[in-house]
Symmetry: C3
Subunit: 203 residues, 3 copies
Amino acid sequence: MDFSPNTAAILYWSTLFASVFSAAAGVIDARQKKFDLFGVMIIAFCAALGGGTLRDVILDRPVFWIGDPSYLVITWVGALLTFWVARRIELEARWFEIPDAIALALYTIAGTQAALMVGTNWLVASFMGVITGVAGGILRDILLNEEPLVFKGPFYATASWAGSMLYAVLWHKVDANAAVISTLLLVFMVRISAIKWNLMLPR
Amino acid sequence: MDFSPNTAAILYWSTLFASVFSAAAGVIDARQKKFDLFGVMIIAFCAALGGGTLRDVILDRPVFWIGDPSYLVITWVGALLTFWVARRIELEARWFEIPDAIALALYTIAGTQAALMVGTNWLVASFMGVITGVAGGILRDILLNEEPLVFKGPFYATASWAGSMLYAVLWHKVDANAAVISTLLLVFMVRISAIKWNLMLPR
Amino acid sequence: MDFSPNTAAILYWSTLFASVFSAAAGVIDARQKKFDLFGVMIIAFCAALGGGTLRDVILDRPVFWIGDPSYLVITWVGALLTFWVARRIELEARWFEIPDAIALALYTIAGTQAALMVGTNWLVASFMGVITGVAGGILRDILLNEEPLVFKGPFYATASWAGSMLYAVLWHKVDANAAVISTLLLVFMVRISAIKWNLMLPR
């Protein structure tokens, strides 16, 4: 099953774009800790590219940003811009909720897709999608020495997992473009509804 | 040196079984932090399969649970069961001490074995055994934002290291089955004695 | 571009030597946490060899200490000596500042060099140099459950990044030995000046 060239290009550019928002959200978090400029850039790197790095290392694929420096460039441009803006105006974390939900969906799709192409079982593939989607945020929180929010926040990982399972199931059955769009919508809607009504899993 | 088919099968099944107990012990720890259901499943994954994942990545072998989804299935079944039971009755951490000591021994053997088969030096192999045995617990504690217990607890890593050194020494000298059984006994006895008499290394 | 055999040998031995000081500095930190002997050895391992391990895993090269046990041996000899001495006399962290700055420079060079030899872009290579230089210290602080000092300390990562960029730029242009020496001097001088005058990046 192949993507149409358009879908492949849209996925590439939108994932690159998603890195900017993940990086920005990481900078917002790091700011409260009084990290210096370099610390902020490392946090942004982990938040934006950490999940995909872990995915590629576990799947034994070439790490995606090693061969394409655009990812580092755009992540750091996003981080520096946010750092610069954040010293001038008060950025609120909730402004990033919608782009962050889109980024979560894109990373989830990219991760599940990568695992399926290596030929893993659907359960393993869906878990690799979740790792790609959430490990960046976990890494960021570990570096900030905080309890990872992803374990407590409203349906963050759950949205990712629902999406990656849907994608893994659809992959062999429907058109690739349709699989991408339905997964995007599912992850986005689960995540945004959960934030809006503050849904929680049992503890 | 080869295992008898029986030993190989016993090792496979018992390691799979060991994952249930590591997962369960991880859930017990996560419970006090009020993690949600998904958080608990990630903690269980790290506790049960994190050490072996790190081992395979460092040795540049295919990560063991990528090709065999049984590990993910059994880890999460164990985690969900424990999560369900823990909401009804008070599970005490000490009930897991004996299965946990057995899991430590099995992981240590599997890790040392994997490194020896890649052809590493005995010192490196024994350290890979320790990584496989203890890194899961370290990862779990990092995600829970606690100081890793393994560095302070009674002889946890020491039991693993003693066992992995014994196994690395015995490997080329005696029958594989004998090497497995003596390592199992050594790790188990060191660990259980240390808990019973609260033995500590110098600090 | 090749090193003269002398430079290659000097780099190998000095990096091995650098591991002793990183390990020692890790032990000094771990001591305040009342870790046991084994915990200290794991901390020393992460501090001394963690950055290079991460670099090799990300670049998909064989992990350097797997094939050459000298690294483990010298790291642990350094850790055990420091542990032993630290129980007798009060070691002050600032005695390690100069050897630690040299270690930072050597790790930075080794990391950038490794990435360039795999054929990465200069930006990626310089970032791999920083990872090799600073990830060990970050790992150590994560295991000690502290906020990574590298994000706040005076120009630690900045010194490494300045050096790795210089090295990546010089690599194809000048003699390898000249590249090594100028990078060593740059990292060392930036780091030591920053400590002396307590320079800070904007936060």
